[in-house]
Symmetry: C2
Subunit: 369 residues, 2 copies
């Protein structure tokens, strides 16, 4: 019996376990927070990420380690990698943890990105706007997620307050992209270098949090898909990557700009649970184990609605025959991802009709449509 160790016991870990049990795998989680979503389904070590004794004990009980979020300390992953195989590789985690390193990699690989400049002082910031133009977005290089650690800078007057708010740490200033839409591509690479790709997804954010994904992205052209795949493939190759990688993209006038990457399964891939085979969770596990990575078979047209902060009770959601419910066993809190609903349809227009009906029934129009 192969046991997969997972750093982080949140919803992504939970869904990895739900996808992996049917493959005959067992799971063991490591997370400093007790009572986490994945802890219901498998044993969980509750210990700090720098507790080397606990990490050693954890490593001794598992065959393979992965992580479910990119703010696990890189040192933790480096330490574990000396004891047990870890995927995706530590260098991928380190790249994703620092926006400057990440965007520098994109640039180095010839992947278009918004203009960006490193900012370590107010003087840097004042100089940087000449390169990015205005408006621009000032971001912490590390530990930002769901729109946190960001400030939009619209005029020179905004510079000092933005620096005050986010400063005293390393920042990056990026040109503001008036994008037509946000897309993401999910890709996976096995230890033999073979890659597979899911179709591009269109993502709608509100208040910095993903609300809705549509897959495949409407009006997806083969050219757009190929371009996104070539970007993802270049990153996978460069990092000698194993597992699922998500790359978030902006589309503007048919051009794709890479925004950021996540070295893990990703919220914009949740639709695959009911709209593709294998889904992103199974795909990630297969890749890590060196098992066959078959090109995902996509069935029809999918949408994913995030349930954020609070949501209708399960029975209310399940009155919609098309709704596939995925809850994370988390208590309600503003801005918190509590679950998602997947919808599947045979055509893009049927999907739109189902999506609108479900959002109307559940009073989710304001956040989704």
């Amino acid at each position: 019996m192969t046991t997969i160790g997972i750093l982080g016991a949140g919803q992504l870990g939970r869904m990895l376990a739900l996808a992996g049990y049917p493959l005959g795998l067992t799971f063991h989680f490591y997370d400093p927070t007790p009572g986490s979503p994945a802890g219901q389904l498998a044993p969980q070590n509750v210990a700090a990420y720098d507790d080397r004794i606990a990490l050693q004990r954890f490593a001794a009980g598992v065959d393979l380690v992965t992580y479910e979020f990119e703010n696990v300390p890189a040192q933790t992953v480096r330490f574990l990698a000396q004891l047990v195989p870890v995927f995706p590789p530590p260098q991928a985690l380190e790249t994703a943890q620092d926006r400057l390193v990440e965007k520098t990699l994109f640039r180095q690989l010839g992947i278009p990105t918004p203009q960006f400049v490193t900012v370590d002082s107010l003087e840097d910031l004042q100089a940087a706007v000449h390169q990015t133009g205005l408006p621009a977005v000032l971001k912490t290089r590390r530990l930002g997620y769901d729109g946190k650690g960001q400030a939009v800078v619209r005029s020179p007057d905004d510079l000092a307050p933005a620096w005050q708010r986010l400063g005293k740490q390393n920042l990056i200033l990026e040109s503001f992209v008036a994008f037509d839409r946000e897309l993401s591509v999910l890709a996976a690479r096995g230890p033999d270098g073979g890659c597979v790709f899911y179709p591009l997804v269109e993502n709608q954010h509100r208040e910095g949090i993903l609300r809705l994904s549509i897959a495949p992205a409407p009006n997806l052209t083969p050219m757009l898909q190929q371009t996104a795949e070539s970007y993802a493939a270049a990153i996978l190759e460069k990092l000698d990557y194993t597992g699922v990688l998500a790359v978030e993209l902006f589309e503007r006038d048919g051009v794709l700009l890479a925004n950021e990457m996540a070295p893990r399964v990703h919220n914009s891939g949740h639709w695959t649970q009911n709209g593709a085979h294998p889904d992103q969770f199974e795909c990630h596990l297969r890749a890590g184990l060196g098992w066959p990575l078959t090109q995902p078979v996509v069935t029809g047209f999918s949408a994913m609605i995030n349930l954020i902060g609070d949501h209708p009770a399960a029975p209310e959601i399940l009155q919609n025959p098309a709704a596939h419910l995925h809850l994370y066993a988390k208590s309600p809190r503003p801005g918190r991802k509590l679950g998602h609903i997947n919808l599947c349809a045979a055509s893009a227009s049927e999907l739109q009709a189902v999506l609108q009906a479900v959002c109307r029934n559940l009073f989710l129009e304001k956040v989704c449509l």
Copy 2:
């Protein structure tokens, strides 16, 4: 958080939990055997089915109880039902546990069955063959499964040896049905009396064990479906049933004869995990909770291959892009159900092609085709 208690921690319990976690449910198992398939995913009380102290403790920790196999002692279920709501109702379990009671119910409801006679002695048996004709099948009334506890009687000379082998307990003699094929219908009923039905499934057994299911059954006519549904509905109504019920049927010359029923999720419904929404496991839980029972949406054409005794390693199975793997974490043993493979296709002919290719690749032709 609603906790479902499940009697029996085998693969059916395991798959109930895998289907129920995404609905926000938690699970607690009760099974005398430690290290059971479901015990990986949720807490398991390891105690005897007649241990009333353990049963009381179990009942105190759950909101609702169901069972995953029909040989749980009826007394256990009756005892629990005084402490906590139980579904399906104890009278359904008692009916399914005794072939005579079961077939008598079918007859009472006007559901055709093979001819049957109760047999409590060799003299009974000798008289019974005049009613059933020969060949006939002698069966224990209780505790038979997967073809165990049965003897085919072809001539008067077989009567005494068959009685010797199975006798000293209550038996039933049934006329042998030279059926064209075996079918099953899965139905579910909610506490409000509302029923839903899955399409009829064609089942192929070998050595008394289900090997292959095809859903919907090839050449399924609306008439056949309606007839099967009316039989299932009559049983559900009569037993004031809640949950999923499976009825196994013989088809001969377009006529359906009820063979037996299972008051639980059923092996011939496993295809629904990848071919219908909701699947039988979610459907059973929804029914028990009084949550919406939406008519299952069937996507395309499905097959389910049981993995029995031993099976190719998971990576070998997963080389087939169409294969959805479901393993139960059980050790190999002849005749033991270890897992299943679901296949989905857009047409009946494509399904046949995929099924044949997968069976050929995995050397399963002998058991499946």
